[in-house]
Subunit: 224 residues, 2 copies
DNA sequence: GCCGGGCTTGACCGATCGGTCGGTGAAAAC
DNA sequence: GTTTTCACCGACCGATCGGTCAAGCCCGGC
């Protein structure tokens, strides 16, 4: 039921869906995330929802559509979710906000996130696969824009932009494999730690402001 | 056939296996990696090998055993493979070597790597799951040891060791999702770039040697 | 009363799943 | 020359897969 409520208020294009549909999407997402698409049967989903298998076909035309609503339907939302949480300010802090917002999305829509980032990454459905890539590209290009912005502003050095984006996204995308909601920090805190490590580096040594650089931002390190 | 030869000379505990067994493991690994465990049928594997389905059961007792030989059987080897490629020298360079060696393993045993890091990550088989976790822990603890070593030597600042390990492994573990063998750099080169980003940081600014630090190592950045 | 229309169901379908079985043919062992 | 061994195959099994269908159930409007 917690899945249900968090999904309702977050994923915009599913706002008008009935409770039953939201329940099915929540349970299906959880199952897809834990057992994969092929490993999850329609009977499994029906059993988890406490309904008959036939009812699934009353609300959805087939298994693919359920998956599409779970995984594909929320990929666009990720971009919108994150974009709306980027504050005005120095570009490097926008990157930090990008990472924290992505982590928040992961925490709130965990099963949909896992299903969309792990299962079906080589989708046999050509059209849907293409659409997912388009949405994914929009999300990644947004990050690359922030990185380029930070380079232009002189806040980060002239690194390879796509490669930097991949490093940042890797740290976030892999989180679901080791994150334990009962232990350690929140996803947002973890994203903040990763930003610090990637931005400031692990290396010991004094950091000295460049004369041309903008005024110092929050969270700067002065070595140990 | 290339899969076959690379697998034969690399994965030690499969050295005595017949060509047919190696062929099955290679094709099965490729299929598991692209379609997942549940999404790959025994008929698929047999067809890919150009043999009958019955022959699979002549060489393996069941589908699980094939998966175990593909994924679990090579996880220990990853640790040994990487350990043997860590040179003597400054701890930070050991970390770099760790990343490069892991990337080399990824390049050479790509399908086994993908199968072991993606499919079946919540294994219904309790015993095998536990064994995989043990092997995985050994690999990760080895990295954490290197990180602690670098901290003790004063080469990297006092960061959270497990979290640092997760950041480094994330960058490597996610590589299979975007790496294109026909384009861009080799996995080893990518690992080197990631090490530079994580070790030196993205941040602009002059780095000044600490007086107590050891003599400079290769690859140091002197700002932009 | 009763009637129409969504929500819900169990029985059922053809296809495919992992796995088994008896048998073949050729080389190795005796 | 006979027997044993072994890689290999086609036919087949029960179970489960995704999906269909006709028929009930429930409930507000008449």
């Amino acid at each position: 039921m917690t899945e249900l409520s968090t999904m309702k208020d977050g994923v915009a294009n599913q706002a008008e869906a009935s409770d039953r549909v939201l329940q099915i999407l929540a349970e299906a997402g959880r199952l897809f995330a834990s057992k994969g698409f092929e490993g999850t049967s329609m009977r499994d989903i029906a059993l988890a929802c406490g309904i008959s298998k036939s009812l699934l076909y009353h609300h959805f035309s087939n298994k693919d559509e359920i998956y599409a609503r779970v995984a594909v339907g929320s990929t666009l939302e990720l971009y919108l979710f994150v974009r709306d949480r980027i504050p005005d300010g120095p570009p490097s802090q926008k990157i930090r906000a990008f990472m924290v917002a992505t982590a928040e999305y992961f925490r709130r829509y965990r099963w949909a996130w896992i299903a969309s980032t792990t299962a079906f990454w080589n989708d046999p459905d050509r059209h849907r696969h293409k659409e997912r890539l388009t949405r994914r590209d929009r999300f990644e290009n947004f990050l690359r824009g922030l990185i380029q912005e930070a380079i232009d502003a002189g806040e980060i050095r002239k690194v390879d932009v796509p490669m930097t984006g991949r490093l940042i996204l890797s740290s976030l995308n892999w989180m679901h494999r080791w994150y334990n909601p009962n232990k350690s920090a929140t996803p947002e805190q973890i994203a903040d730690i990763f930003f610090d490590m990637i931005f400031n580096g692990l290396r010991s040594g004094e950091l000295v402001e460049l004369p041309t650089a903008e005024p110092p931002k929050a969270g700067r390190r002065k070595s140990r």
